[in-house]
């Protein structure tokens, strides 16, 4: 009986992110685009900090609006099972960008952050074939996307087995036979702090070999710091996500490469999937319950094509707005 979500009787779907970021603005564009295409309303919600608490509130409010489906990127799935399941009980619920294993979600659309982390590790290996000391920079630990990416990266560099449940405490130095992870530095989503963290790292480890930024704004901050220190190119930068600065840096060689997801398709596919399910068509759900939108490694040779692809999407953003 989910009828009157929106006055015009259109179906309405909620698209919930795990924070506020440009990354999600692209996803929003995808979601809205799908909304246009399928003639449904899409309520995009970007919860601010503290994200887990805000996500709970957001879901409650969407449920209160009798939406016909929700796609969410849970911040900390293990702890949010009851919220997610409550939502799943009251409406169609899928996860995107980060999965909630063991929940009643219908399907997960996205990639595996742990694998993405390992991809990032592979990029590091390419950039520093004969090993070296690296430092990790991330907005905040304690949320899955950060923890899993970090763990994947570490495990890859230390040539460990695939096991996303591992956890290395931050703050202690991790030595492999080739690579050393000096430390993981957090900045609480403050770009200024991100930059000064990078600078301090350069000050403490003048001959550091590589710096990895796990959140979209980390690589630009790192690049800024390197530029100021005149170490651009000396220190290898490995990035995550598709910040314009990052891509530019890859093109002119000051950043080795980045692991990109496909936020636009997260948004697009999520809404498409929800719309179909809400129409009662469960066939769209893959047997695995996992619609893989794999992460990609972007390096100097692939960056130009990717940029053009991205720009078309951004344009899309503009017209949807």
């Amino acid at each position: 009986g989910k009828s009157d979500a929106s006055a015009d009787g259109k179906k309405t779907f909620g698209y919930v992110t795990n924070g506020i970021a440009s990354f999600w603005v692209i996803a929003k564009a995808g979601a809205l685009a799908a909304g246009e295409e399928l003639d449904v309303d899409v309520e995009v919600r970007m919860p601010g900090p503290p994200e887990d608490a805000e996500q709970k509130r957001t879901i409650e409010e969407l449920l209160a609006m009798n939406v016909d489906g929700i796609a969410i990127s849970p911040v900390k799935p293990d702890n949010q099972l009851d919220v997610i399941n409550e939502a799943a009980a009251r409406t169609h619920l899928i996860t995107h960008d980060s999965d909630a294993p063991g929940s009643d979600r219908l399907v997960y659309i996205g990639m595996d952050n742990y694998l993405a982390g390992r991809m990032c590790g592979e990029l590091v290996k390419e950039a520093l074939p004969d090993g070296g000391e690296i430092m990790i920079f991330v907005g905040r630990l304690g949320q899955d996307n950060a923890d899993l990416r970090r763990q994947g990266l570490i495990d890859e560099l230390l040539d460990r087995s695939m096991d996303s449940t591992r956890h290395d405490k931050p703050g202690e130095e991790l030595k492999g036979d080739k690579y050393t992870i000096l430390d993981t530095r957090t900045d609480n989503f403050d770009s200024a702090a991100a930059k000064s963290q990078a600078e301090d790292a350069l000050a403490k480890y003048p001959d550091i070999d590589g710096m990895v930024g796990l959140f979209a704004y980390n690589p630009p901050a790192i690049l800024e710091a390197l530029a100021a220190a005149g170490k651009k190119g000396e220190v290898q930068v490995i990035a995550f996500d598709e910040d314009t600065v990052t891509l530019q840096a890859i093109e002119d060689g000051s950043c080795h490469g980045t692991v990109v997801q496909n936020p636009y398709r997260y948004g697009y596919e999520s809404v498409k999937m929800l719309a179909a399910i809400a129409e009662g068509d469960k066939s769209v759900i893959p047997a695995s319950g996992f619609l893989d939108i794999p992460a990609r490694k972007i390096t100097k040779d692939s960056v130009v094509d990717f940029r053009t692809e991205l720009e078309s999407l951004i344009a899309g953003t503009a017209e949807v707005k």
Binding site: A5, P49, E61, A64, G142
Partner: protein, 394 residues
């Protein structure tokens, strides 16, 4: 009652407007959620109201919420393996440290002639602290029986928050620091402490402790389609107690008095320091209770983020509710309503599908509007009074 007239009207207006615009606003489900959130934040606001009444401020609430939530989850549901009795032992050590610190502050205060506490009591405090610490450090670990563990932990985190409040009070009264500074340091310190003890790992209760979590998520069915969230009951109880304390007992009376004129109150033979400390203790204790409920409700406590900015919401609610930051004024009921207004606004913005980006902007505007209206009404009343006086001077 006149004090809360404005805020009540505001609440009614917002509710009515939203209800008129969206059919989904006044559904049992949505109302229950609003009530639950209002209750959770309301508890914090009631706490800070006491501090504000004494003319102080507490910026550390959010960090206390984070610390309490995190420690609670860690002690009840440790993520990684711990040696037996680690909970006991760490608790003892922390308690020991706190006691020692308190003793030191007191000592300084006495040395600088700011306090009159007897030297012996002080010595005992210090020794007790040392003993406690030693016990925690070197005693063999043994685990409590499960049925004892839970209440012990809950009581302890409450005690912890209480002590935090006492510490603030001591620093402010005995050393003579400014509340803003002390609690600002608290804001930073407890946040750092939380991140450190939890090693930045998000804590939670997993899928267990359902019984305990009912405290925050449970509902009492009233009619067959409306149920009252448990936190609302908690708030009701706390608010009534606070109301009585503030308006019907000498404690509240003295807080109001010293909030306006500390000297005069002291000259009246009242040990003002004691009541200031009491106010901060109450504030932090309620922050602790709130912290427990938040943790149980959200079940996911990010050490670095959980509770950020909550102090500001609490203070805003208190101010909306008619507390004057100049001290000496405040109404508990008003504060509760103030908290409700804020939550209703949040909810309305989303239920009405207003872009979330505007959330803060709207909240800010409404608070501002509220206080401006309040101020202008006050002025008008004063004008009237003067005019009346002029007509019949007697």
């Amino acid at each position: 009652m006149k004090k809360i007239l404005g805020i009540t009207t505001l609440l009614i207006v917002v509710v009515a407007a939203t209800a008129a615009l969206s059919p989904n606003f006044l559904t049992a489900y949505n109302v229950q959620n609003i009530i639950r959130w209002s209750a959770l934040f309301g508890i914090l606001s009631v706490g800070v109201a006491f501090v504000i009444v004494t003319g102080g401020i507490d910026l550390s609430i959010g960090s206390v919420v984070g610390l309490v939530g995190c420690t609670l989850a860690m002690l009840l549901n440790p993520i990684d393996e711990r040696p037996p009795g680690w909970a006991w032992k760490s608790v003892f050590q922390i308690q020991g440290c706190i006691a020692i610190v308190a003793a030191v502050i007191w000592g300084l205060a006495r040395f600088y002639g700011r306090s009159r506490g007897s030297g012996r009591r002080l010595l005992w405090l210090g020794l007790a602290g040392a003993a406690l610490f030693a016990a925690g450090r070197y005693a063999p670990g043994f685990d409590l029986p499960a049925w004892l563990h839970l209440p012990f932990v809950v009581l302890w985190v409450l005690a912890l928050s209480l002590q935090i409040g006492l510490l603030h009070g001591l620093l402010i009264t005995k050393i003579g620091l400014q509340p803003f500074v002390v609690t600002l340091c608290g804001l930073l310190f407890y946040r750092g402490l939380t991140r450190w003890v939890a090693a930045d790992q998000t804590q939670g209760f997993g899928s267990g402790f359902t019984g305990l979590r009912k405290l925050a998520t449970g509902k009492l069915p009233l009619t067959d389609d409306f149920a009252l969230p448990v936190p609302a009951i908690a708030l009701a109880v706390l608010a009534i107690l606070s109301g009585v304390l503030l308006n019907k007992t000498i404690f509240g009376r003295y807080m109001l008095a010293l909030g306006r004129n500390e000297t005069a109150t002291r000259y009246s033979g009242i040990d003002t320091d004691r009541y200031v400390i009491l106010a901060y203790a109450i504030c932090s204790l309620l922050a602790g209770i709130g912290g427990i409920l938040f943790a149980l409700d959200i079940n996911s406590i990010q050490p670095s983020g959980h509770g950020n900015f909550y102090e500001l919401y609490a203070i805003a609610a208190a101010v909306l509710g008619g507390c004057s930051l100049r001290g000496g004024e405040g109404s508990i009921l008003g504060v509760v309503i103030g908290a409700a207004v804020m939550r209703v606004l949040y909810n309305a913005i989303n239920v009405l599908g207003i872009p979330t980006q505007l959330e803060f902007a709207i909240i800010g505007l409404v608070i501002l509007g509220g206080v401006i209206a309040d101020e202008l009404v006050k002025r008008l009343a004063a004008k009237r009074r003067a005019a009346r006086q002029a007509r019949d001077p007697a």
